[in-house]
Point group: C2
């Protein structure tokens, strides 16, 4: 059973990295098999729903890790501004380390796939937003849901700008502006 | 010459709509020809650089129209907050009218194409940001470049969230939050 689980996990990890880099349509199943060194046939055995199922599970995996990471940062932050700075710093380091190849595991796939992928992205964005909204509410920030939506949108857009420009400056600009927003509340 | 120009223009318009809806990799050249009712061979005659050239020109076309539209709104707005509201309203109506299919002409293609497309997206994002920065500077907003970057990022992200959720609420939430940001400056 261990080996079977390993293959499934390896397929999913390989697919997740490719989807984050190339989007849904830019990633072919043959590439997932080749880059993962996976046996043919393993894909539909573990993922009978094919590419859509693989992408939906990859989004859920990436979103879960992202939420854990954001939660840990916010738990450790002395205040919302410091938390935002740490998130921005982490996203910038991640983009730089991957030579601007690895985008957001949700945002890169969201515009691209069918209903199964879209549903996974709706859940993933929702989970991210819930973590931030609950944190902001606990910090006494007013309109926490709207502010969490805006932070999510601004960080998605900033990652898109940073990847396109191959420059982390948009992330830091957004961080600085959004920090003044949190301060004013 | 008129007919030749018409075919080029029609090819570009058809491609631009498909790229905004499906992204770069999700759009095939055969689909561009079929949906545009275009003669085979017309594509490489008018766009010898193929799909990359077509996508880069589609981004430039869409960005030019977007900048004109934003400029006109800002020129007519009594203050930055009202201008932002009008932009949000227009983006929301556009998404609703297209059943959430037509995304940003730049943002939808940016993560996807090769260097030619990426260069076109860098220019397009830059032109949009310039329009907003100059307007904000003229209105006495401090840090106009950072605020313009943040508005651009937040509106890109809001369109992505709205398309994914098939709901304009994220756009209005971002508008409301960003409006308090402009007021505080």
């Amino acid at each position: 059973m261990g080996k079977r689980t390993d293959t499934r996990e390896r397929t999913l990890r390989t697919a997740a990295t490719l989807f984050r880099t190339q989007g849904y349509h830019g990633t072919g199943l043959n590439q997932v098999l080749a880059e993962g060194g996976l046996p043919k046939g393993s894909l539909y055995f573990h993922f009978p729903g094919g590419k859509e199922q693989l992408a939906a599970e990859a989004v859920a995996l990436g979103a879960g890790e992202l939420c854990d990471w954001v939660s840990a940062i916010l738990d450790a932050a002395p205040d919302p501004g410091a938390g935002l700075d740490a998130v921005i710093q982490g996203l910038a380091e991640h983009l730089t380390a991957s030579d601007f190849n690895l985008g957001c595991p949700i945002g890169t796939v969201a515009p691209d796939g069918g209903d199964l992928v879209r549903d996974a992205c709706v859940s993933a964005f929702g989970a991210w937003q819930d973590v931030v909204r609950e944190y902001l509410a606990g910090q006494g920030v007013s309109d926490p849901d709207e502010v969490a939506t805006t932070l999510l949108a601004a960080l998605e857009g900033a990652q898109l700008l940073a990847r396109t420009r191959r420059d982390t400056a948009p992330l830091y600009a957004v961080g600085k502006t959004m920090r003044t927003l949190l301060k004013g509340r």
